[in-house]
Symmetry: C2
DNA sequence: ACAATATGTAAAGTCTATTTTACATATTGT
DNA sequence: ACAATATGTAAAATAGACTTTACATATTGT
């Protein structure tokens, strides 16, 4: 699975720490997600999508290998 | 977080085991999700939404407590 | 009623999401 | 250039996602 978080964050001019606070996780969690180091929970995906006012599918998408 | 999986599954006339196979998890995983016993990964949410041809947000939604 | 299928649930195990702390490097503003 | 802010990353710890096995109950079709 891949994601667009870094781009969406740039559009909204949010730092990793800003976003982390908005969705109640640590900054390292945001950093690791952007680096595709792990798959977030659905709760976190819904919260992030809500911050960016976009559907989950526009921010996270499956790859062949998923 | 809550979900609609049982309803969507009924609409498509799929058993828990059918759905489990389609998204490559165990039947107990589907059963536990329907019973709100845990929050699935985003990969699993995307796969389930794809099976039902609906956006993730129409199948999973945040509660106040999330 | 009987047989087959579907669902509920539980326990133990594995794997991985997420946190905390800490430090190094990169970027930005003045 | 300097100071402040932002990002990368790592290690150890905790919590929770997901599996496997197993059994009990409920539902459905004949």
């Amino acid at each position: 699975m891949k994601n667009n978080i870094r781009v969406e964050r740039a559009i909204k001019q949010l730092t990793q720490e800003d976003l982390a606070r908005m969705v109640s996780v640590s900054r390292q969690t945001i950093n690791a997600m952007e680096a595709n180091k792990y798959v977030p929970s659905t709760v976190l995906a819904l919260k992030i999508a809500r911050v960016f006012s976009k559907p989950v599918e526009e921010i996270f998408w499956l790859e062949e290998t998923d």
